[in-house]
Structure formats: structure tokens, C-alpha cells
Symmetry: C2
Subunit: 337 residues, 2 copies
């Protein structure tokens, strides 16, 4: 492993580069964080620990929506809106599927042609490693590195649909859900509960023939959101429409995010939300680690399918199966100690 | 502990009593299951293992709603509907708060005056123990005992609002959400995401002056549900109204549940849903156990508040805090082995 070590810089060199806004070193440090080598982990931890005081100064925006909703086009258009205000923007992608399908995110920069050549924008494709806490973990840390490098607005985009939305929700200030008008089949892909996490629903493709449909959808969704419980921050989620290709309605989305930001800051909820996110993040890392260790344990993997089958068909009580797996795990671990 | 042991019967005696539908032995076996004594656990496990082949033959219905929605009145009325069809009904209550507030469930039987004297009905207040997996765990096992004792319909009622809804959702065939018309403040208590779990929303108190309001609410909720993704079983959640005091609309709810039951059975989803519930239940028990062991560990409890504070205020990276707690835990456990 010695030859790998040679390629690495010192923690100071990374930190220095990041704080100077050096993109090559920012990218390298994100790669470092994504690495699954134990030695890299120590170095990554050192870098992260050092940059912590310089983080937290961005507006963190989660953007999600089913494939076909026009996410890339939206991010291009909305990203340009952000950089036109002379703000430094980082776009991070969280894509749990990228491990399996690999190629899925290769097209990230071509997906966002204009933004990728914008000097104020930095686009980073998804992490594909998944050690402690998985992909979301890496994305969260990448976000902190971007903040330390001076990025003022961070987009965290989810690719595809799945569990990642909840993770993103837990790391952003504002959660934006893109939706298509004409509901029906397109909606099938949206995981239950996601609509309720949204700080705003934006109905895309409000142009041409589609315009009437989006206006109707806007009213429907706004009515539906009325039935949801108000979040404890007192923020009332708003439904907007936009046309990314005609650049209509984009400014309004930014204004809404600023309004949300100010309102939460005035009421003190902004800081509280971030602190709570940090604490529950720590709990989640711990729970995930404990759970991953268990389910990835070779002895458990050998036994669990059989137990699952017996539990599913009711041959043994669930509790008994769980307990017996737990005691196998315990004796296996203590013999390994 | 020897003197406690004397009070206990043999596993066979419990099982025999349960299978004969003996309510005293059913109640005793539920008490046994709720016990937190390790010796009781072994016996409880033996009883559960033996009765497993006799379980699963009921319709499991989860009933939830905010305080004030009229849950007790509804259960009285709906329960009478069930027993009027000559079906044996068990009503179990899941109440995570009962550990703290104790008295909370003492009134269970007076809450349901008619039902509690109905020979076909069996009402059992919430478990208050919380060993492996908590209160929901006990309720789930009590449900199995009731099934073995020949109960054909089980209501699992949640008291108050909180996490218990998700647990109930994971153990029933049909999830019924009671709602009040005139939304607004009453809705605040409903946890995000609950509406989306419902197989049916029933708007209560559809009588007198309230009738128009409930009809309007029915349409609103039905429209809102249209915006939700369809569940993979293909069941389309329906909104109904009822007046428990005037016993209006009660029959329709039962009919809907039967329709749901038949539809899912025809498509094969009924069995699949139950099998999936069993497997994810096993995973949950394991995850909860691992997590409870960690967070209840005395060394961790000594250290975690400080780590949380430092994480919240950004003094150390979340991942570092999590890792350091995990390594303390590991060394503590291996020295204890």
C-alpha cells in the first residue's frame, strides 16, 4: 500500500488548497473522502476536522424529482440564476445506484453544458464508495468541503428515486421537489412521504401546451399541501411553476428560498434545524454502522436467508429468529476479539 | 427469583388454554410476554413458537387518529358491527406513552362500555414493558396469541400520536386513519407521512351541523389522495364518513375492509405483504437491539451528551464523533466479554 500513500498530500496541503478555493485540491480532497482505504480515512478525517470551522456558510438546497421531470435542465437554468447573482455554486449529486450501474453519472457534465463551463459553478458527480453510512455520508462531507472552499450555494441533487431523498432532506436547509403536471403514472416513482418533506413543490415544463395543465396542477398540489401538518418551523410549503427552457419562474424560486432562509433565521429555526441535523446524523452513522457490521458479517450472511424464509412462512416466530441471529453474531464477534 | 417462578405455568398449559380460547389463560400469556424477566422471556418464546402454526387467520386492522377524533366511540361502534356478524374481536392498544404516564390506559374498559361486556369481544390495554423492540413488539406478539385463541378480527389501536403508527402499519393488513373535518389545528398532531399509509381515511362525527363539513372534507381528502402514488398492491385508498353515535357509515367501513382483503388475496398481495412484514420485522428487531444496546450502554450514556453538544455546534465533525463513540463501545464490550 506504500505506493498509494505517495500519491497523497499532507492534510495541511489539502486544507490550504481548499481554503484558497483551489478546485483541483477540492476535487482531490473529495476523492480522498470517497476513498475506502483505511489510511485515506484517517487523512480524510484530519482534513475534515480542520476545515470544520470554515463550514456552514452556504444555503444548502436539496433538489429531487422523478426521471423525466427535467432535473438537469432545471438545474442548468436555476444554477445560472444563482451564478448570475455572482454567487459561487456547487452541484453535488447523490446517486446510490451509481455503484451498480456505474456509467449512470458519467454524463454529469454533459448533462449541464452551460453550468459546467461557468467559472462560478463547480459540478461534482456522485460518490460511489459506501463505507460508513453509505453514499449520503460522502455527499454530506463533500458539501462541507465545498463550503470551506467558499461556495455559497450548494445544490444536492438526487438521481433516481429511493431512500436518498430522506438522507438529502436531513442535510439541506431547503428541500425542493420537482413535479410534472398531469400526475398519474409519473407519480408512481415518488416514494411515499417525499411530498411531505418538500419546502416547495415546483411544477416543471410550464410552457406551450403544457401551461394550462401546470397551472391546474399548481392549484391541486397547493390544496393538497393544505391538508398536511405544518412543519414546526412554521414554514408553509409553496407550489410554483417554471419553464426551465424559457427561463420563466426561475427567479421566483430563488426568491422563495431566500424568503425561507430569512424567515427561519429570524425565528431561530435555521440554527436549530442544522444542529438537529448534525445530532441525528451522528446517531444515524452509529446505527448504520452497527447495522452494516451485523448484516455484512460473513456468518450472518451465511445464515440470514434461511431465517428470513422461515420467518416469512411463519415456521418460527420472528423474535426467535432475530434473537438466534443476534446470539450467533455475539459469539462470533467475541471469538474474533 | 424462585418465588416468581412458582406463579408460572408450563408452556403447554398456556398453549392449551390459548388454543381452547380460554381468556384467563390468554390474558396470562400476554402478561407473560410483556414481562421483562429473562426467565419469562424463555417461557414466552416457547409459548409463541408453539402457537405459531395457529396464527395468521384474522383480519388485522390498525386504527389511528389524533386525540379528539372520537376513537373510542368509533371502536365501540365499529366493534359492535364486527361482533354483530358473529365474529370474535380482539382490541389491542399500543401506547408508547403509557410507560411514563401509567394511568393513561387504566380507563380502557370504561372507554368502551358496550364492547367490554360483549362476550365476543376481548379488550386488552397496552403493554408497558419495552425490552426487545419496545411496546410494538409486545403488541405484535399479543396479536398472535389472540389469533391462536380464535379471534377473527383484531383491532390495533394507537393511543396518542408518534412513532407507533409506523409500527402498527407494519403489522396490520388494513390501516385506517380517522380524521376530523375542518382540518386546521387538529391536523397538527398528525405525523408527516401517516396520511400516505392509510388504506382508508374515515372522517368521523358526520352528524348534525357537522355533516356538510364532513362531506366537503371527504371530497378534499379524496382529491388529495389522488396525488399520492398508488401502493404496489394496486389498492386505491378511499375516504369515507361516519357517525359513530348514530351508527351511520359503519357498515360501509367493514365492507371496504372486506373488499380490500379479497382484492389483495386475489392478486396474491395479501400473503406477500404479510411475509414482507415478517421479514422487515425481524430486521427491525435486530437493528433496534443493536441500537438499544449501544445507546443504553453505560459508558456511551456517560459520553454521548458531550459529543452531541460538540457535533451540534460544529466543534468536531459528526463522523469523528460517531467513530470515537463506536470505538469506545467496542473496547468496552470486548473488555466485558
Amino acid at each position: 500500500m506504500k505506493y498509494v500513500r505517495k500519491k497523497r498530500l499532507s492534510a495541511d496541503a489539502y486544507v490550504d488548497g481548499i481554503l484558497k478555493g483551489n478546485r483541483i485540491l477540492l476535487s482531490k480532497s473529495i476523492t480522498l473522502i470517497e476513498s475506502s482505504l483505511p489510511e485515506d480515512n484517517d487523512l480524510a478525517e484530519e482534513v475534515l476536522t480542520t476545515i470544520i470551522p470554515f463550514t456552514g456558510n452556504s444555503i444548502r438546497i436539496g433538489i429531487t424529482g422523478v426521471p423525466g421531470v427535467g432535473k438537469s435542465t432545471f438545474i442548468e437554468s436555476f444554477g445560472k440564476q444563482v451564478t448570475s447573482l455572482n454567487k459561487k455554486l456547487a452541484v453535488l449529486t447523490i446517486d446510490p445506484s451509481s455503484q451498480r450501474s456505474k456509467g449512470a453519472i458519467l454524463g454529469d457534465k454533459t448533462r449541464m453544458e452551460t453550468l459546467s463551463v461557468d467559472p462560478l459553478a463547480y459540478i461534482r458527480p456522485s460518490a460511489s464508495g459506501s463505507a460508513l453510512g453509505g453514499v449520503a455520508q460522502k455527499t454530506r462531507e463533500s458539501m462541507l468541503l465545498c463550503e470551506a472552499a467558499g461556495f455559497e450555494v450548494i445544490f444536492i441533487e438526487t438521481v433516481g428515486v429511493g431512500q436518498s431523498e430522506t438522507s438529502v432532506y436531513g442535510m439541506v436547509d431547503f428541500f425542493l421537489l420537482l413535479m410534472l403536471a398531469g400526475a398519474g403514472d409519473e407519480l408512481q416513482g415518488i416514494k411515499k412521504g417525499i411530498m411531505e418533506m418538500a419546502d416547495s413543490i415546483v411544477i416543471t415544463k410550464a410552457d406551450g401546451e403544457n401551461k394550462k395543465k401546470t397551472e391546474r396542477a399548481k392549484i391541486e398540489y397547493q390544496n393538497a399541501l393544505h391538508l398536511f401538518p405544518l412543519s414546526k418551523t412554521g414554514w408553509y410549503p409553496k407550489v410554483l411553476t417554471c419553464s426551465a427552457v424559457h427561463e420563466k419562474g426561475i427567479q421566483e424560486i430563488w426568491d422563495l428560498i431566500i424568503e425561507h432562509n430569512q424567515q427561519l433565521k429570524e425565528k431561530g429555526f435555521f440554527e436549530i434545524k442544522r444542529q438537529e441535523q448534525n445530532i441525528s446524523w451522528m446517531h444515524n452513522i452509529i446505527k448504520d454502522t452497527l447495522s452494516n457490521r451485523f448484516f455484512n458479517n460473513e456468518k450472518i450472511q451465511e445464515l440470514i436467508k434461511e431465517q428470513e424464509k422461515m420467518v416469512a412462512t411463519g415456521q418460527i416466530p420472528t423474535i426467535k429468529a432475530a434473537k438466534s441471529l443476534l446470539s450467533v453474531y455475539d459469539s462470533y464477534r467475541s471469538s474474533a476479539d
